[in-house]
Amino acid sequence: MWRRPFPWLIGLMVLLFALIPYCTNDVQLRESLLLAALYIVLASNLNLMIGYAGYVNFGNIVFFGLGGYFCVYLVDAWQWQLLPSALAAGFAVGALALLFGLGILRLRGAFFALATIGVNEAIRQFVANFEPWGGATGIYLSLDAYRPLGGPMQALWTAYFLMVAVMGASLFLSDAIKNSKFGLGLLAIGQNEDAASVLGVPTPGYKAVVYTASAFLPALAGGIYFFKSGIIEPAGAFNLSLSIEAIVMVMLGGQGTVIGPAVGAFLYEELRGLLLTSEAFSHFQLVIAGSLLLIIVLFVPGGLMGFIHRQFPRTRHWLE
């Protein structure tokens, strides 16, 4: 892997994310970058489904929300530390993803997409009625939860570095898959699933694995994010809008590439920040996101990276 230039690029990016806020001790920058890192995690892992296997997971946010709930619950009710809670959340959500995935991955195209929304909605409904997880009000973390990490201020930094680590893991995972035999099989499925099957790609197994894989890191990120926020409740955890924005990010940056979703996430977060602060545009967030998506799908389906790859073919090799 390290003979190619691109993984080094990922490493550099992770380093920059980690060092710049730390060295400047800029808390506002750190918060902004945390959000960016989170979006990159969501978009990259979503890309495994959309860009590689060609399955649109509209309800992808369910992994994030469930991961958040598992982690916060473990910290709050069982007094676990952050890292083991987040990891446990990741594995729990991965297992659930495998379970649900085996059912809905039999569906093709729009039906799969709608089923994923269904899964998200059903789980949100369930959690909102699930008393051990706070029902409709959710769970609040007391300040005690941050004591093992050295208090709230310190905990926020720890959470940030963990999020950056998860971001790095997402990008490395994307890269590793893309350059593997498994990834080639996924790409074949994304092009033509029936032809891929006839060619010998074990489609049901591969789809189940990628769906599960795409759940793990967002669940971890959810655990970290909601731990840091100190509160989790159903509407915020299973927010369908964020799910949709993740799709826009993937398409904007360039589905099927490794760096594309990261670029898209970054650009979109900047755009969103700009829109929210401007009074005139805040109501039009959905309209702008939708128009953006429409333009991309109609005219630049390869997104920004697709455009760059076409204009500068040499970049294909080192900017994957």
Binding site: I50, G54, V56, F58, G103, I104, R106, L107, R108, G109, A110, F111, A113, L114, A115, G118, E121, A122, Q125, I244, I247, M251, H283, F284, Q285, L286, V287, I288, A289, G290, S291, L292, L293, L294, V297, L298, P301
Partner: protein, 286 residues
């Protein structure tokens, strides 16, 4: 017992309207293999369309329905050329995303224009009373109109040249082109027709219940459930499926809180898709 029977019968009436909505969706799918994810938004715009058109023209609600049908058709044709035309040959992923993007834009515009407050179209009609239970007049009228429009759709598809062209393109686009049928124009018309059906179902729903800009989601889900019950591309099946869904809802409402309706419908959707991919009411397609 009578209570449940009345609930079920009422469900069947409303179900006819669901069937009408689903017909629009299934028609578009059957003709051009596109699943219109803006379907819910169009239903909602049908609702608002009726509200504002009736107010602007100063006529009772039902009189404004034809106007909404025409507007829906025109909007549908426009939507086809804007969002669907370019992505028709490509991977299904693309048309999914493009219609979804349209949905986002429409809902966003709608929220900006109408906010999320509830709207209501007051329609007072005498109801039918039986054994002490009243079937609201609006439900009966809505079901009747839905059935009538379904009948008109059948006539259109099977007795007119336009309808024949649509069915030809649905069956085999290449062959239709060879026969000299202007396929792209036919596709645009079929899309317009599908959108018009969705819009008019919105108008009927608006006469039954209060609505907000966010109401579309629930009806889009119902449309999908009905579509898979009836088999994709099968308008007759859609009508039957709609009535079936209305029946199921009628059975559920006395026993279950409303918030669980969506969950049950999604479960039904997934189960039918996995178990009966060709639909429960699918007649053999020629």
């Amino acid at each position: 017992m009578i209570g449940i029977a009345a609930s079920v019968a009422d469900g069947v009436l409303v179900g006819a309207v669901y069937g009408l909505a689903a017909m629009g969706l299934t028609l578009i799918w059957g003709v051009m293999n596109v699943i219109n994810l803006a379907h819910g938004a169009i239903i909602v715009f049908g609702m608002f369309g009726l509200y504002f058109l009736a107010a602007a023209l100063g006529v009772p609600a039902y009189a404004a329905i034809p106007g909404v049908i025409v507007l829906g058709f025109v909007a549908g044709v426009a939507l086809y050329w804007i969002a669907v035309h370019r992505v028709i040959g490509q991977a299904e992923l693309m048309s999914l995303l493009s219609t979804f993007a349209v949905n986002m834009v429409l809902i966003g515009l709608g929220t900006a224009l109408f906010s999320t407050s509830p709207y209501n179209i007051p329609v007072s009609l005498p109801g039918l009373t039986w054994e002490g239970y009243t079937f609201t007049g609006t439900h009966i009228v809505a079901a009747t109109i839905a059935a009538a429009i379904a009948g008109l759709l059948y006539l259109l598809l099977h007795r007119t040249r336009v309808g024949k062209a649509i069915r030809a393109v649905a069956g085999n686009r290449g062959a239709a082109e060879l026969c000299g049928i202007p396929t792209r124009r036919v596709l645009a018309m079929a899309f317009g027709l599908g959108v018009a059906l969705a819009a008019v179902s919105g108008t009927l729903i608006a006469t039954l219940f209060p609505f907000t800009i966010l109401s579309g989601e629930a009806y889009q889900l119902k449309s999908f459930v009905v579509t898979v019950l009836g088999g994709l591309g099968n308008p007759a099946g859609a009508l039957l499926g709609g009535i079936a869904l209305g029946l199921v809802e009628g059975l559920m409402t006395p026993f279950m809180p409303v918030s669980w309706t969506s969950v049950v419908e999604f479960a039904l959707f997934v189960i039918v898709l996995i178990g009966y991919p060709r639909g429960i009411f699918a007649f053999s397609r020629s």
